[in-house]
Amino acid sequence: MERERSDRSARRTASGNFDPSVVGVRTFLKNWPIVLSQMEKLSVSLKRRQVSGPYHCAKATLELLRYTVGTCKWATAAQLMELIRAVGRELIAAKPSELAVGNVVRRVLFVIREEYTAKLRQAEDAAASGAAAAAAAEVSVPSLETVLGGEQLEADFSAPLPDLKQLIIEGLNELKAELEEMNSVICERAAETIHANEVVLTLGRSATVEQFLLAAADHYRKARLTFSVIVAEAAPGLRGHELARALAAAGIETTVISDSAVFAIMARVNKVIMPTHAVVANGGLVAGCGSYMIALAAKELSVPVVCVTGLYKLCPLFPHDQDTFNCLLAPSAVLPYEDTELAESIEVLNPAYDYIPPELVDLYMTNIGGHQPSYIYRLLAEYYHRDDYILAPEFEG
């Protein structure tokens, strides 16, 4: 019966457009089985950690959303945004701790808004007479009122515009290109961040940090200068070993230390290059487990902490404590299941992430330059629309 009704409603909406108050997104997407199966596939991959890490999550999400925009039927930008939100909610629900998924959804919404507004203005301009155009030009001169965001035109995105789909797809392609180039853009700042003969500490393995360090090494190699890198292994994953191997292969003097030696060695470290999982709204960050103590040790010994990150990791949500964006991983990495007797009698904690408050971070080195943590809120306004901050209240609120 339930099924029948949903089928009927699907049929009803097949001719129409997505309206979340009428049907669920899965029911709606039955009309486009490929989109539905792609969404299901990505959800499952996220759940199983087959797709993990901010970059891969962001890329996969963007692919799916671009495909959704191009494939599904929608008449107005408002309808499209509803659809994108609904798909985004599904993905976020699959893996709430992968904050990059939500970030990309917000960026896509932002692009839709931008393209719509631009197109609308263009259409209005074309329709209006020369005098009206002059008046419009006058309006666009920034006044204190517009700067402070007083009475801005709040579009309702309901006007059907021709070519909007094409424009949005182009916008999303640009977004994709930006995402792919982000690391190389950040790497341009490597040499100004890391100086010759410095001792740099990092932990675990992050593609961004790896490329950053390699870029710095490349820069100094020409001048026959070097710097050394200390890598904390980041137990229990021990991905620091992989990073060390990669850096050493590129000729950087690399030393692996256990996580326990971080405090001892911090006294001789010039800079901490911090990989991150997400940058959060208050300027703090969510990073791999163990980062908090490294950041704290660095602060205690007045060693600058530089977080190297692309802005796809920028997340407009506020953390409350260590648990907000965290998840516990399988304990087997900490206590092998073979040790059954012990495993049964004790609780084993293997958290995936740490929350690092903004006061422990000195600098964010991003694809648009270096910023202090207190400036992060401003970047948010540039990257996302305020209305999109909360996408899935039940998972992020």
């Binding site: 050493a248 030393t255 230390i257 030696a261 405090f263 001892a264 060695i265």
Partner: protein, 523 residues
Amino acid sequence: MDPRQDLKQLEALLDSKAVKVSSPRNRGGGARSNSTLPGWSPRLAAQEQLDDQMECLSLGPPSHAAAGDGDSLQQARDAGAGGRSTPRAQQQPQQAATADGGGGGGSGAGAGGAFPKKPKLSKQERRELQERQRAAKAAGERGPPSGAPAPAAHAGGGAAAAAERAGAAAAAAAGGGGGRAAGEGGGGGAAAAAAPQPTGKTLQLFSHLADWRKGRQTAAAVGMGASEIHPSVAALGEKYASGEIRGANARAVALLAAFRDVIRDYQTPPDKMLSWDLDKRLRPQIAFLIDCRPHSVSMGSAIKYLRNAVARVPPDMSEAHAKAHLTAELDGFVSERVVVAGAGVADHACAKIRDGDVILTFGGSSLGRALAAALAADGVPVAYAPLPAAAYAMRDATKVLLGAAALTANGAALARAGTALVAMAARAHNVPVLLLCETYKFSERVQLDAVVYNELGDPAEIVPQEGGGGGGGGGGAHALNLRYDLTPMKYVSLVVTEVGIIPPTSVPVLLREMNRREDTAER
């Protein structure tokens, strides 16, 4: 702490794990080095008959060791040293094997039986055999898969011990000249393509710290025939170097137990005075132990106490009497400063633990797990987390209990690496830190950071040599295994000692009081 028992235990342990102790002593003779300790097993086997001759073997100069069984043992040991066996030892392999088989059982006989084979093997053959054996043993030992967690990978567990030994083997092989360590597949069977050659090279910053291999080399070299060193001390040195005995208390107690044997076997030469001559005899033993592994503050206290006690022996005291007196003094130190003190510390700390408290502590690798198991067995609800998650777990903690290897005069605690991180995280979360430390671990030394004084461990404990990225040279990353870190005074709320609970600022006060008491006692 009977040294014989210890050694037997060690042997049993090694036998059961089929782990070969690889050290430079086995250099070039890996094919033969069975699970017994080549240098010590024969002596051990024949120890019953040897007790009488022990002192001439141990404390006298080498020329004194020319008598009977002692001589053959010496040769057995030389033979055990592999490629360096002296011609005499090769001429008398039968004798060596007999001494070996006397009590050593199958393994000893096996070791003896292998002696004549040795010259037949070419270098190439030896190397192949060595690699095969290692690969076989590695395959047998390798328990957990490649994703073995850091705590397990650090030390203690079977796999970890294996990894450590494998690292040592690699080091030994490299030292022997062109030897190749067998690749030990990291679970996935990915053997190293090229032999990792651990350079032990570390950051320039740490070049002032002693090479981690030095201790093992020293411990191994004593088997080559330096008979200045008492067997108990030599065995202890081996255990210090291998990490079998670790922890401040265990090291100090084992030290005094070994010196009990030295005193027991000591005979004052004619025309010499015990208090002078014994001290002279003790010095090389102490130096040897320090070479095996830099002494801990706890050992320093024990050594200081021992030497003071020896110096205070009245010249007119009979030798037997003096020896009994010194033994009693040593036992007194162990019971008063270590055992009773430990209990006192526990008592004081207990008073600070209230119903409902959540205690966070740090044990490091195998120790932490053993502690978790012991507590769980006692019915205490236990949660176990790796060190990086300490900050995560800190939210639930109401108190942090930490131990220390030493407390410096400036109130800082020198302790197992990682302690400072836990204390720092505790302070960041406003959780009080109780540092538990017996007063004999208080040191006059001052230290500002952990780099000035530290100890390097085997890098293979961090990055297993085989298939791993670090540790080795050849373009690979280095691994640095720092054993200690320094917890600044500001992170410590209280220091719990057997004489009471003090703030860390009062450490120098307590030191002064203790010194004053010692001075009065001497007078």
